[in-house]
Subunit: 481 residues, 2 copies
């Protein structure tokens, strides 16, 4: 428990009970709250601001690369959902069904969308005719509902918020290029905004999206050593093109099926961000997504000039960093703890003595290191530099932990030991789904991805650790959220 | 039908069949499309960009005035919806009910939110304790579902997109101030962005929101003389405070109920914008919401230098206006018609002769007036000025039409005649709901609002036109969407 300079809200230590710690941070940093709807959360202002930060970054990048936003209905007729066989098989068990409107029973029940491939495809069929209509690059910002048995704030909720991209291309290669460039965009968002290092790669057949040809994924490790699929991008091949008869006339007038992709980042990424960076004092926000980067906390604010100076400082800084003054009627110690709980990347303490000395105390949230900085015209620039340092440090620390917890297993016994210890375990695999099931049963680990790093590895003479067959993949495995 | 310079997409004339004209514009300008879900529309890229324009303007103003965004679950347990009696009575007939999740029947059915007062109130009860917690100023951007029998793109759809603001205040006057200042914000958006003049006022008892104490409204007239409620802001009094037991300790430690407000702008506003401004050539977009303000159309684009010059012009203009080049393989006449259909406020025609003469042809969409402008460094600034002129002209034209169609009736016979002719009819009314029902039955008109202009009118000796009782209100009446 964090205790320092007065009152703190008590939270469980992450080394004692990680799950409880996580819930404590979500609730006490006021990111979210429970609602009376089982499995659905209320995203509070701080949580919503984080989601808006992700939205803004993704939306800007998508628009810059020619993607257009649309809005599809949230209700999907059952018959439409049934059109792509694998897809419906994957989603049917978790669909929420609308069966009545007002006082009338519906003739056909409607799914609250669990994902919108089928709605997009039905529309694509109407608007695509010629190769000149391609590619179509669409995206929407909505929420979806999947009936989950066990839920957790942000990580797995019955309703969650996401964007879903859906694109149509003339051929397989074009669609592949799109799916991969979107995966790269997510890497950029994860690393350069959320300070989360990822392993990029391809999912196994059994772990891929229902209806996909190939599922690309970015995987990352949480503080507790469990993996999280933080973003995915699916190459759907012509599966949906064929199921929905989306065709176009190519340059020679020949009718061809389109290839499609779909991809998403969800509110889950916020859960990942918490579990990678936060600590026993609460939330630690990466500076580039923090809605407020600097919290100014006045000391002895009743003394003449202190609050004025704090506001003056805020006004001087606000063009360089996002900044607020905590002028509430609480003791400074309480405010420090609150600032730590809410994860402001930098806190500035300013009191009568500091003002007299022409300086302030600057405390960074990631290391809790304190330094003095002169109250001069350079302060804003220095804070900007410090924010970049904090970002780099958070990313480096997470990467270091992830690297240390990524190990290659040489035997199935060693594999089981390493999985128990947490983290990614890399092991050669024949591709057998039976083995995949066996591993899950025996160790609780699932295949996370064939990372791009290992995609072209020379596996001559290397054998599957479990069945002794020739290994096809050096696969990343882990217990996962 | 518009026909000029080659091919145009045929649309019905608005003077011949306004309803068909409206649908034609929505579909042919590619604002939306039908979906396979009854009453739900697909909002296409142009329609979505318009909605994002409204979102951005509203969201910026809300944040500047201290409002915070949150995200509430879209599903509402039936028992929660039942808590405020009038509210549920108003909404129950149009609720879509989720009754199954995956393969299981739900124990309690869940409403797909028709509006979220009850979710917000349940949360408010948890987070509000003291007068120091007030006001709470929340907002969310979501969609809602209301089971409608007759639907029309944007104007009335089963699912529609909106923001919904929900605020809590210490007393009635604070809440009233909030509800009114939001109404003012909407006036600003309507007039200064959408170029739509509005009449602001208060709804009658029977027309107010289910559960409200007072409903403020902005009403406006469409081209066909029917009225549209384009935005509303509700003072809910302490109705929800009491129903949900949302209390706070005031400065004297006394427990008090909060007063709440709620308010919204919806995708309906886009429908209103179309019906106020557009014409037989298609969409006419007010410049401040047009996603692309200027369309550059090259003439004889195969000739050397034409396309290069068009792109050069675009690059020169793009810091001052939003601009695109239509370099598609179509005839200029076709492109002109398309530009008119899609409502770009300004079209620039540039061909070899223009380039030689160092000028371009500038066509404004609102009046279709053509002028020549020099291809020089001032062009961007001149276009900005022209865009402002276009905005002012569109607003003035709509206001003039609205004023001409706003008339005071002196007898009930005159009232009936004027209603038949369309527009607002102002008439003295006792406030009797029976009379209100009678008027609706006999003329099809509903009470739109008691406008602020007439709120303090001296009605001494003035009688209700229908029952001869003392008049309490000089009411605006109209047939409405």
């Amino acid at each position: 428990m964090a205790k320092k300079d007065g009152f703190v809200k008590q939270i469980t230590s992450r080394d004692i009970d990680f799950a409880q710690w996580y819930t404590d941070v979500c609730l006490k940093a006021e990111l979210c709250d429970y609602s009376s709807v089982k499995g659905c959360m209320i995203v509070r202002p701080l949580g919503t601001a984080l989601w808006e930060g992700i939205q803004h970054a993704v939306d800007t990048q998508l628009k810059a690369t020619g993607h257009q936003n649309v809005l599809m209905p949230m209700l999907i007729p059952e018959s439409l959902l049934l059109k792509e066989a694998e897809h419906v098989e994957g989603f049917a068990p978790e669909v929420a069904w609308v069966t009545a409107g007002g006082d009338s029973e519906l003739q056909e029940r409607l799914a609250v969308r669990p994902t919108s491939e089928v709605m997009f495809c039905e529309h694509f069929k109407k608007i695509i005719h010629s190769h000149r209509d391609l590619p179509v690059l669409y995206n929407q910002w909505v929420s979806v509902v999947r009936w989950e048995k066990t839920t957790r704030p942000f990580l797995r909720t019955t309703e969650f918020f996401w964007h879903e991209g859906h694109t149509c291309h003339a051929d397989y290669a074009d669609a592949d290029k799109e799916a991969l460039s979107i995966l790269d965009m997510y890497v950029d968002i994860c690393e350069n905004m959320l300070a989360i290092p990822v392993v990029s790669g391809v999912k196994s057949e059994s772990e891929k999206f229902a209806g996909a040809d190939k599922t690309y994924t970015n995987e990352t490790l949480m503080y507790d050593g469990k993996a999280l699929q933080i973003t995915t991008s699916h190459h759907l091949g012509d599966n949906f093109g064929k199921a929905f008869e989306i065709t176009y006339a190519d340059k020679n007038g020949q009718e061809q099926f389109v290839n499609t992709t779909s991809w998403a980042i969800t509110t889950r990424a916020i859960g990942g961000m918490i579990m990678v960076h936060s600590d026993d004092r609460g939330l630690v926000l990466p500076p580039r997504i923090a809605p407020t980067q600097v919290a100014i906390i006045p000391i002895a604010q009743h003394k003449e000039g202190v609050l004025d100076k704090a506001y003056e400082l805020r006004d001087e800084l606000k063009d360089k960093v996002t900044v607020m003054v905590d002028a509430s009627e609480k003791q400074p110690g309480w405010k420090f703890s609150e600032a730590e709980m809410k994860g402001y990347p930098i806190r500035i303490e300013i009191g009568p003595k500091d003002i007299e000395a022409g300086e302030v105390i600057v405390v960074r949230r990631d290391t809790l290191e304190k330094t003095k900085m002169a109250l001069d015209a350079d302060l804003g620039t220095k804070l900007q530099t410090l924010l970049d340092e904090i970002h780099d440090n958070m990313l480096a620390k997470a990467r270091e932990r992830q690297n240390a917890k990524t190990r290659v297993a040489k035997t199935k016994e060693e594999f089981a030991e390493l999985i128990k210890d947490g983290g990614f375990v890399i092991a050669p695999w024949s591709g057998s789904e039976e083995i995949e099931d066996l591993i899950k049963e025996e160790t609780g680990a699932s295949s996370r991805c064939l990372s791009f790093e290992y995609q072209d590895a020379d596996l001559t003479g290397v054998k599957d650790l479990w069945n002794g067959e020739d290994a096809k993949y050096m696969m990343h495995w882990a217990k996962a959220y």
